[in-house]
């Protein structure tokens, strides 16, 4: 068994996973995450790293390989780096063996990634260079409404009359939301409306990538139960033959995938040494 860690440095959060991997498969020993929110990313990496080791109950010197993904260049103690699509694909396969696609929903981008049974990337589609309806957008809106991110999902699922937000500029949409609040629209309905417009975009992305069957939602937004519920609604209304799988550790898929690939690479290096 090889102990390896994956650190996924995203735009708004850092995720970390410690795994034990061997020929029989991989086991997740511990995960952690920390939101950056104006803090120095390096400091957040240090905190998240310590926390993951604590959760896994191992000391740093026992980790054979530290792999990064995302903006991993800033992690000085890494041994290797994996592209985020590669990492998310592998993580998705580990968390949902039947998945043939991952929908990575991050702070800036969403990617629909079609994979094979070994976790290799076959094809992908990505959102444009505009943050309308991105995770960062959702985070900003939640802050405006005085809702913490971990409350967003639950609150959205209680919406009675979702208020749609059209695809407007992520920064200026804040004012649309202020407008809605001033018109007396309930916070839950605003959040659900945003979830639905984001989900519509993601569903179109899945369709464009020619994806069908089981898809695992990954990335930071995968932890948002309201968004995942909205995604299922949108998939039904767009009549796509897709089932969205969710896993408690979906948000860590990138870090988990990086750790598994890291362990694999470590084994290969040992063999060739």
């Amino acid at each position: 068994m090889t102990l390896a860690a994956g650190i996924d440095v995203g735009t708004s959060a850092v995720k970390c996973a410690v795994v034990a991997a061997g020929p029989g498969g991989a086991k997740i020993l511990g995960t952690s995450e920390g939101r950056i929110r104006r803090r120095d990313t390096r400091a957040v990496v240090a905190l998240v790293w310590e926390e993951a080791l604590r959760a896994a109950e191992v000391s740093a010197d026992r980790i054979a390989y530290v792999a990064t993904t995302g903006e991993g260049e800033i992690v000085e103690f890494r041994r290797g780096h994996f592209y985020s699509m590669t990492a998310h694909a592998r993580g998705a396969l580990h968390l949902a063996g039947g998945a043939r696609a991952a929908l990575d929903m991050g702070a800036l981008h969403a990617r629909a990634i079609r994979i094979d049974g070994r976790g290799r990337v076959l094809d992908y589609r990505m959102t444009s260079q505009c943050a309308s309806g991105s995770g960062q957008f959702l985070e900003n809106i939640a802050r405006y409404l005085g809702v913490t991110l971990d409350e967003v999902g639950r609150l959205s699922t209680t919406a009675a009359k979702p208020e749609r937000v059209s695809g407007v500029c992520a920064v200026l949409a804040e004012t649309d939301v202020i407008n809605m609040a001033s018109r007396g629209i309930a916070t839950a309905d605003i959040l659900k409306g945003i979830h639905l417009s984001m989900a519509g975009r993601f569903a179109r992305l899945l369709g464009a990538a020619g994806i069908s069957g089981e898809v695992l939602a990954t990335g930071g937004l995968a932890a948002d139960v309201g968004l995942v519920a909205a995604l299922r609604e949108e998939i039904a209304s767009q009549k796509l033959s897709i089932t969205i799988a969710a896993h408690p550790q979906s948000a860590h898929a990138g870090a988990i995938g990086a750790a598994i690939w890291g362990a694999w690479r470590h084994e290969r290096l040992k063999e060739s040494a």
Partner: protein
């Protein structure tokens, strides 16, 4: 005294201007916009009336505004702002402790209350610094001032007390909304006595007679009845302004009239506000003849800079001066504001300089404005730059350079009051309407 008030409800800030019966500017008020429009308008108007009272004190003491050394009135104003800030801080403390109690009650984070108390103790202790003579404030708004301090203290307190930083940050986000949406009583009287005592203590007057003169002028001003005759509203979300329809004016007209009033020779106006940029052509009476506005994308307007300031943990006031210290201009490849924010973070991590990046951003915004100006009919003499971004010296530099390159030597006006241009236009419309009503009323005499 009767005043006419204009309110410009913008996407990021809400401005109010109060005019005296002669149409002179009596007071200006500004607050950050929020999800409660009535509160934003009430607070801006309230701030303008507070400012109006200081103008009355200035007039009574015959102190010219902005004369080199800090006058007694300036000092008194600073002390007043500090009292106001401490009062809001006490309210925020109350609200945040309440939120902490509820969270603790539901089984979350023990020791939360104590941690929050500690943070607010430090905030109160340090509050005086932001209002000291010559202090550079990061922002004029309580939300930003308190938010910046709270978050940096929370970041230190979180690991020390074993409480997640997110929990502390979330408490602030919840509580600030409740505090900033309270509509104020006009609280001049509430704070002026303490402010006056503080100011007299810190810069004692020459003798007893001088002291009693100052006290009686201030007391008379505090007792002055400021009656708002008429309010006219303009700005973003006009459809939702909390005013009857006949008291609402299209913002382009307000900006045109406001710019004409500040600079009567104006022919072309560029207004860069929070979420829209307008290029306006006016005639010699301040009437709009044509205009162009940007698309709904933050990349071409003030919110772009505001967003980046937040990302860099800077106050909006700090951006321009910092950009002016740049030695080179770094081009950011992302157009989208949010992407630019992330790109900037990466570049900073790679060791590029904040000021060089900022210089590039200022140039990018102004380039977009130049395209808008060209579409509206170009720049004619005189050219007036208004809106919140006109307060930013780096944006003014960038604009002046590009105007010279493209249009040659055109006189360019920038007023210290540029952010209040729309509100001033609205106030002038209010003044005219109030005068018209008064002169047509039987037995009219004010």
């Amino acid at each position: 005294m009767k005043c006419a008030v204009g309110i410009d409800l913008g996407s990021t800030t809400t401005k109010a201007v109060a005019l005296d019966p002669l149409g002179r500017i009596l007071g200006r008020g500004i607050t950050n916009s929020r999800n409660n429009y009535d509160a934003a308008c009430a607070i801006a108007q309230n701030e303008a009336l507070i400012d109006a009272r200081f103008t009355l004190v200035r007039r009574a003491l015959a102190t010219p505004a902005g004369a080199g050394a800090e006058s007694f009135v300036d000092h008194l104003t600073r002390c007043f702002r500090l009292e106001q800030h401490l009062d809001q801080l006490a309210q925020l403390r109350e609200a945040t402790l309440g939120a902490a109690e509820r969270l603790q009650g539901s089984g979350g984070a023990p020791g939360l209350r104590g941690t929050v108390e500690g943070i607010f103790d430090s905030m109160k202790e340090g509050a005086g610094q932001a209002f000291a003579r010559g202090a550079k404030k990061r922002s004029d708004f309580f939300r930003d001032l308190a938010g910046g301090t709270y978050l940096s203290l929370a970041e230190k307190a979180a690991p020390a007390h074993g409480i997640p930083f997110e929990t502390l940050a979330g408490l602030f986000d919840k509580s600030i909304l409740a505090v900033e949406n309270r509509t104020p009583e006009e609280n001049f009287r509430r704070h002026i006595d303490r402010a006056l005592d503080r100011a007299l203590r810190e810069s004692p007057p020459a003798d007893r007679r001088e002291e009693s003169r100052l006290r009686s002028v201030v007391a008379a001003t505090a007792g002055e009845d400021l009656e708002v005759e008429l309010t006219v509203g303009t700005g973003y979300g006009r459809a939702r302004l909390p005013f009857p329809k006949e008291q609402i004016r299209f913002e382009i007209l307000c900006h045109g009239l406001g710019a004409h009033t500040l600079f009567p020779g104006t022919a072309t106006v560029l207004d860069i506000g929070g979420q829209d940029t307008k290029a306006i052509q006016i005639d010699d009476a301040g009437i709009v003849t044509s205009f162009q506005m940007n698309d709904r994308c933050a990349a071409g307007c003030g919110r772009y800079l505001g967003y980046i300031a937040d990302e860099l943990n800077l106050g909006l006031h700090e951006l321009g001066p910092l950009a002016q210290t740049a030695t080179r201009s770094v081009k950011i490849s992302s157009t989208c504001t949010v992407f630019a924010g992330a790109e900037i973070r990466d570049r900073l991590t790679m060791g590029q300089k904040r000021e060089d990046i900022l210089l590039g951003l200022h140039r990018a915004i102004i380039l977009r404005a130049m395209a808008l100006l060209a579409r509206s009919g170009g720049i004619r003499s005189e050219f007036t730059f208004t809106g919140g971004v006109a307060k930013n010296p780096a944006a003014v530099d960038a604009l002046a350079g590009l105007v010279r390159e493209n249009y040659g030597e055109v006189p360019m006006n920038v007023s210290a009051d540029s952010i209040f241009t729309g509100a001033l236009g609205a106030a002038l419309f209010a003044r005219r309407a109030a005068d018209a009503t008064a002169s047509s009323a039987p037995g009219a005499a004010s």
